[in-house]
Amino acid sequence: MIGIIVLLAFVALCVWIVRAAGWRFALKRLGGALVVLVIVTFAVSVMLQFTSGDESTRQALDELGVSRNAQPCITALGTAATDVDRVNECVDDRNLDDNVVVQYVKWAKQIVWDRDLGLAFYRNEELLSDELRQRMPRTAWLFLYSQLLALIIAVPLGIWSAYQAGRPGRRSLPSWLLPLGVGLLLLIGLVGGWKLTSVFAIAVLIPVGIFHFFKGGRQADTATNFLAFALLSIPVFVLGESLRYAFAIERDWYTLLPGYEPWSAGVGAHIGSIWLEALVLGLAAAPVYLRLLRADMIQNLQQDFVSVAKAKGMSNTHILLRHVLRPSTVTLITVLGLNIAQLVNGAIVVEFIYDFDGMGSYLIAAFARREFFAVQTLVALVAAIFILTNTVIDVLYTAVDPRVKADDDR
């Protein structure tokens, strides 16, 4: 049933792409995507060959009475590898005695044709598809919430910043006050303890900063930009670790223990079990969107249609939201697609920090147990999702903005 729906959706997608972008272009893009997908998965297969060990391992295995190429199976089985039958079964199952190309073709056939993803863990013979069904929704929700959060943070700030960038600078606080303030904070912290510092920061520095920010002018843009830069430079693991300390250990705003709760457990429980992870990923993604939106909108603001709209007497808000934000949305969507790869990286780290049972922590577990067969399938899956999404977005982009097609050679 699900297969039929997916197939129908795929056909509908293809038809739509062809209608929107034309045969030649659609074929070129889809063909390119397919080629890239095949190369990626094949490269992973080739890399897996390195796990077979060197010649001496092979000889030792041969003497033990199992296949010469059984090393990956033995590492995957771990302690269960003492059972020769299971090793042989595994070698047979993964076609380890064939060469790379045959192995790859058989693997691809198993995935695409038989729709069998194989085992998640060889040691206790769990099915990967079961594992996926259990963990995939968690990571999917995490992605969704984090991106929503990132957009909620980035879009207003980006619009504001781009708008302020074009306005003349106002007489305002000189920017060298910032390091002075931070230095003062450190001094107070060292002399009078950290409590006093936070009081001072909340009472003096943050109001001054907010005032400075809302006064507008070029400095507001500089400040926003600097904020984005700072946020971009914080590694995800540092961000995750500090927020975990602040909200889950120091205070009880987030409870680590029950883990993920599905929607069926109630809205409050669901959001409560995921918000901190989503916040970390969202904060990590926000500066990327912010900087891009700002640059794109500044460029759009200098187009002739803005002057025309201005001459017609339209309000600034109207111009910003209806005439400038709209073309920038296309860019934003493109980055959203590119960000999937970024999100997978973030998910691996965040799920590791918060013991969140999603795809990221499964990947870490699979690597730790040297379960490369499942990893191979997963890498292919992630790459397939990434490539498919980006091809669709690419074509979507073309359908909206014909200039891209003309510029295709670049």
Binding site: V40, I298, N345
Partner: protein, 302 residues
Amino acid sequence: MTNVAQEIHVESGEAAEAVAADPAKKSSSGWLYRFSVGWLIIVVGITILGWLFGDSLPGLKDPTEIDPTNLAAGPSWSNIFGTATFGQDVFSQVVEGGQISLLVGFSVTVIGIGVGGGMGLVAGYYRGWVDSLVRIIINVTLSIPALLLVIFIVTIRGQSLITVIGALSLLAIPALARIVRASTLQVADREYVKAAQVLGVKRTSILFREVLPNVMPTMVSFAFLTTGIIIVVEGTLSFLGLSVEAPTITWGKIIAEGRNQFAETPHMVAMPSLVIFFTVLSLNFVGDQLLKRYDIREAGIS
């Protein structure tokens, strides 16, 4: 990132556009630039001094030395970054960890600029089948999440310094190739290159005497940005326990160690984190400023 390639891509697109049409370009960020350069010089200087002279330097101790009178103590004058669970000096650990982290960052960038930059230059200037090949390589690497790829390679090939550098180079090469290629395409389209072609100058010498010098500023700027990203990715790897093996200290590993006893040693997480943060921020900032400062198009117009 962090997906390196994508992050660089985003930054490159942003920077190029922002420079072309940013009225707020001449903002008062001079002191920030100087601050960043100063911080980088301090970090690199202390790291090199620590590498040359070891714990004979005043203020530095043996990072593995156990001090039973000073267990898990907060920052003080004798241990400015505090001490670890068994009284090891965290500052010395950070200095020693910096050797690996910075070494990885720099060597990966050098490899990336050398190989990836060369690829991008050739692909962007000669076009043809080389270009198609490079584009396929770029697309393929872009479609695997960076961290996933690095973890994959490191677990297969073993956790040695060479493997880590190699795996990270595999990320940096296509990312830089992409940027240099785009920049080369732009430069190769300009009048002086066409004039040289008309004059009958050999293509190789155009490449080295006209195109390369004009692509150079972009390359140098992105060298800084890449170093920052690579330091973060390496930190992430060691945080997950997948970077260079046990006795070697890296920044990420100190954080991972402090994380296990967060209640006792929060400074073990905070201090290396701050060092990483400021270093990466400075690298990003210097790269960005260089990009703005040496933008060729801008100079040509005014």
